[in-house]
């Protein structure tokens, strides 16, 4: 028997020119409830290993689970925000498999009776070839609730994986933390936008969950984890291809890269006349590639059956409606409202989104700046500063309130644009608040006539031909003299007052 050679990858543009990708996402979210899913242990990240445990979450013989009402409420909140139907009656199920980080060797989960079914999430892909943002409706298959497992630490060996490790340690602090799984239906028709659409979905879901206040959604701490299903089929084919399921996708960027790589890899497999294997793959952050894990075809049988230790869950309709009535404004509604309030085009909104500036602008406006000024600063001066330092806009050491203050100072005439840029530079350099920078650097606009008159007289003397034109009634020529004064005062002069002074001297008032 010959082992097929690994066919490598096909360049992305070539792959999507010939194949249609279908993607699907399973996202796990750790809920931020006060206590765990089935016991009273604190639900906290960190903590000494095995310090946040009790007989129930350790699965000791005889212990029994009791459902955490908050976890149900949070899940219903998520389901409603995703336009799902909320089951009036459903059950938990046991998912049976042996693994040392699972205290009972079964996970209490939901199987064929999830709490929420059949919704959707509209996401916008901003980064498109033609620059026109594109809306994609991602259908939601189900949202269900389960308990998280403990965490295995494989010591020794080179990979940090169980194979080759000298020994393993298990921390059960995470065991029993409520975990919601949001499963999409297959997303078709996104073509070359598939990787960006996958990323946009996870980003939108993350923003939604944060807005709902149900999770701290920290991908780096594992409170939001993503499995990405990808398949491709020749363009126009009647049937979808065989999918791979990529795990360990732990950042938004990784979501996009994983889909992209899988499209490239599967195209190469099909080009080589081989078939894509239905399997679990692991994303490698360092290389941006995926590698084969266990094959689904030899995957275990989880032997699901209804959890007999829990009574069926039947959320009353009036409770569900009460939860619905308390939902906050969701990100999509907020965006639509802001776009209307600010009078922006779709493209303007995309520019804000791509720069990561939407929330910053909104907060700057809330702090008193006009939408136009807020956009101007964040997309201009501050975007440049972020770009220069390679930082995210949001991580610049300046707050929306600072920006709003600078904007106010300009509006009141205390600062010129040029001075304002210097103030912002000072704030970014850690020199203090805008007002502190103005004071320390002495950046206030000079509008005192005595201080300005020398510079005005000098400018008139230096350009007698211009002065003559103004005397002759050509007021528009004053700009050249104003510019000279501004230059002489290093931009600190109040330009409007300078103009008044010039026109006064030259008999035009």
């Amino acid at each position: 028997m010959t082992v097929p050679t690994m066919p490598g990858v096909v360049p992305f543009s070539d792959a999507v020119a010939r194949f249609d990708p279908v993607i699907g996402l399973e996202t796990h979210v750790e809920l931020g409830t006060r206590t765990k899913m089935f016991c009273g242990c604190p639900n906290r990240f960190g903590g000494e290993p095995n310090s946040l445990v009790c007989p129930v979450c350790l699965g000791l013989p005889g212990s029994l689970p009791v459902i955490n009402r908050s976890a149900i409420e949070y899940t219903i909140r998520i389901g409603l925000a995703l336009n799902c139907s909320i089951a009036s009656w459903c059950r938990f199920a046991r998912k049976n498999y042996f693994y040392p980080d699972m205290p009972k060797n079964y996970q209490i989960s939901q199987y064929d009776e999830p709490l929420c079914t059949g919704g959707w999430l509209d996401v916008t892909v901003h980064d498109t070839p033609d620059g026109q943002p594109r809306s994609v409706r991602v259908e939601i298959e189900r949202v269900h609730l389960e308990e998280d497992t403990g965490k295995s630490l494989h010591m020794g060996g080179s990979t940090g994986r169980i194979h080759g490790a000298d020994y393993s340690l298990v921390d059960y602090n995470r065991a029993g933390i409520p975990l919601v799984e949001v499963v999409t239906k297959p997303v078709t028709g996104t073509g070359e936008l598939a990787p960006a659409a996958a990323r946009a979905y996870v980003a939108e879901l993350r923003d939604l969950l944060r807005t709902l206040g149900v999770s701290d959604v920290r991908m780096e701490e594992g409170s939001l984890r993503c499995d990405v299903n990808t398949s491709i089929a020749p363009r126009g084919a009647a049937q979808w291809g065989t999918r791979s399921e990529t795990k360990n996708v732990n950042s938004l960027r990784a979501v996009e890269r994983a889909v992209r790589y899988e499209i490239e890899r599967q195209a190469a497999v099909l080009d080589a006349g081989q078939r894509v294997v239905q399997e679990t793959r692991h994303f490698q952050e360092s290389t941006g590639t995926t590698s084969a894990g266990r094959s689904k075809e030899e995957a275990q049988d989880y032997r699901y059956f209804p959890e007999p230790d829990l009574v069926p869950l039947a959320p009353p309709a009036d409770w569900v409606e009460e939860i619905r009535s308390r939902l906050p404004e969701l990100p999509s509604a907020r965006r639509a409202r802001l776009q209307a309030e600010w009078g922006l085009s779709d493209k303007d909104m995309s520019a804000l989104h791509n720069a990561g500036a939407l929330n910053l602008v909104a907060e700057t406006v809330s702090a008193g700046a006009s939408p136009a000024d807020a956009r101007k600063w964040w997309l201009g001066e501050l975007a440049r500063a972020a770009n220069d330092s390679g930082a995210e806009l949001a991580s610049l050491p300046i707050t929306p309130a600072d920006v709003a203050r600078v904007s106010t100072l300009v509006g009141s005439g205390s600062l010129t644009d040029r001075l304002a840029r210097q103030v912002i530079e000072g704030v970014l350099a850690g020199e203090g608040t805008p007002d502190e920078v103005v004071a320390r650097r002495g950046l206030a606009v000079v509008s005192d006539d005595a201080a300005l008159s020398t510079a005005v007289d000098e400018a008139i003397a230096a350009q007698p031909d211009v002065a003559e034109k103004i005397r002759g009634g050509k007021v528009a020529a004053a700009g050249a003299l104003v510019g000279a004064v501004m230059k002489a005062t290093q931009g600190q002069a109040d330009a409007a007052r300078v103009k008044e002074l010039i026109l006064g001297r030259l008999g035009q008032r």
Binding site: P61, G62, S63, L64, P65, I67, R303, F305, P308, D309
Partner: protein, 487 residues
């Protein structure tokens, strides 16, 4: 004096202690002395906590209830796999018993993880029947039954998944009760089959059983399957002992071929007795009861295969083969191979198979449908009658070893008791005499609707009173298996 104390019922002891006629320490000492005298022959206990029991008894005498935050005895479930494990918390039932001032003498023997009908599946050897030491005391809670019938303890606690309290009670000449499912808490009871398990008492009298039943019952927020409803008035019913006007249904499916003639004879007499006491007796068919046993042997093993998965040597109990060269998977496998006995393994295999993808619908799914049909049989029956009656077991106590290699024969011991586990209703076994062919006790099973536990006590108390007076004393007075002239 000691022998006399052990012969008293729990209700009598309680009254004597309340009157100051006897102290808790004297009662504990009397039973500990009895245990010392007969335990080598009976083997009812896995662990006797003599010092602890005396200490607790002293506190009971001082009116200081002993409420432990941790249990003070090992818990093994009759299995090697829990070797050395001491639970860090008390079961709700244990906590309630302790709050009621009950002195725990020790932990009784049982079939491994409550799987069996004879205690022969205990990893620590079988218990013996006080009526005839060559015979089994029934099971799985056979140790409790043997201890109570052998006067080592006035009361016991068992769990009933398919008959594990009622069947040993019947073959040891005791009263045994499976309360309504959810009537008392399962928190801290090591699960065999979660949807069937229920703790309850074996006792020497109906009143004693009711007293214990009441003490351990009631809603427990730690067990979401426990019922949030008032405890049925079982003690009052046990004192009422009156069946006049009661409608009683005989289940024809639970008799006939395969039943020991002496068992059927005593059962018929009991039915006639009830009629003579003023009850109205009719026959009520329960057509699906014949499918109860096969359904049970799919549902119970399915749940057990999952419940027992946690015993893997990773966190507590036995660990085998961990020599630094083997993977966790291999250690789990070796531990389970060495730690579980053959019957437990058989049921884990059965259950794993029944839940497997492709077989689930045919086995587990079908069995759940049968379960629904059996519940409907009960519902229909209880529209016509107040209680149903049947023999508790098809035969009297069988000799040790007779069925050990024949699982099907062993499973038949629970033929009559299983329907009430599947439907979750209350059921009780009360002695109704000795089978003429072997002189061993026969049990009458009384079944009542969910949460109507008081009805089974009312009927049982009437039967007990009538038979005791006809006999001139308790049935247990004729149990001579342990007689060595020590009194």
């Amino acid at each position: 004096m000691d022998r006399e104390l052990t012969r008293l019922t729990a209700a009598q002891l309680s009254a004597a202690m309340a009157e100051g006629e006897v102290s808790a320490v004297e009662v504990a000492d009397a039973h500990l002395a009895r245990i010392a005298a007969v335990e080598d022959r009976l083997h009812a206990f896995l662990h006797v906590a003599a010092d602890r029991a005396r200490a607790v008894a002293r506190r009971v005498d001082d009116r200081r209830w002993d409420v432990f935050t941790t249990t003070d005895m090992p818990t093994t479930c009759g299995s090697r796999i829990l070797d050395g494990w001491q639970p860090p918390y008390d079961a709700t039932v244990t906590r309630r018993l302790r709050q009621a001032g009950v002195v725990v003498l020790g932990k009784s023997n049982m079939d491994e993880f409550a799987m069996g009908s004879s205690t022969e599946n205990s990893a620590f050897g079988p218990s013996r029947n006080p009526w005839d030491l060559r015979r089994v005391p029934g099971g799985s809670s056979g140790g409790s039954a043997a201890a109570v019938a052998g006067f080592e303890a006035p009361l016991g606690i068992g769990t009933d998944t398919g008959g594990s309290i009622r069947q040993p009670a019947a073959v040891c000449g005791l009263v045994g009760v499976k309360p309504t499912y959810g009537g008392s808490s399962r928190y801290g009871l090591v699960a065999f089959a979660s949807s069937l398990d229920m703790p309850g008492p074996p006792a020497r009298t109906v009143l004693d059983a009711a007293l214990l039943h009441e003490a351990i019952s009631g809603h427990d927020p730690c067990d979401s399957t426990s019922v949030d409803a008032p405890v049925p008035p079982v003690v009052a019913a046990a004192r009422q002992a009156d069946v006049s006007g009661l409608r009683i249904g005989v289940v024809p499916e639970l008799s006939g071929e395969g039943y020991q003639p002496g068992v059927l004879a005593r059962f018929s007499e009991a039915v006639e007795l009830l009629e003579s006491l003023g009850a109205k007796v009719v026959e009520v068919p329960c057509p699906h009861f014949g499918y109860a046993l096969p359904a049970y042997y799919l549902i119970a093993p399915s749940e057990c295969s999952s419940n027992l998965a946690r015993f893997d040597g990773m966190r507590y109990g036995l660990r085998v083969g961990d020599d630094g060269t083997r993977s966790a998977e291999e250690v789990m496998s070796l531990t389970r191979e060495a730690g579980f006995g053959p019957e437990v393994k058989r049921r884990i295999m059965l259950g794993t198979y029944a839940l497997s993808s492709g077989y689930y619908d045919a086995y587990y799914g079908q069995a759940q449908q049968v379960r629904t049909l059996i519940s409907r049989d009960f519902e229909a029956a209880f529209e016509q009658v107040d209680v149903l009656v049947s023999p508790t077991t098809p035969t009297t106590a069988f000799p040790i070893g007779e069925r050990a290699d024949d699982p099907m024969a062993m499973y038949l011991a629970d033929l009559c008791t299983i329907p009430s586990n599947l439907a979750g209703n209350a059921a009780l076994s009360v002695p109704c005499g000795l089978a003429p062919e072997d002189g061993l006790p026969v049990g009458l099973q009384i079944m009542a609707p969910v949460l109507a536990d008081d009805r089974v006590y009312r009927v049982a108390a009437a039967v007990e009173a009538a038979l005791d007076s006809r006999r001139g004393g308790p049935l247990l007075d004729s149990a001579h298996g342990l007689d060595t002239g020590e009194a």
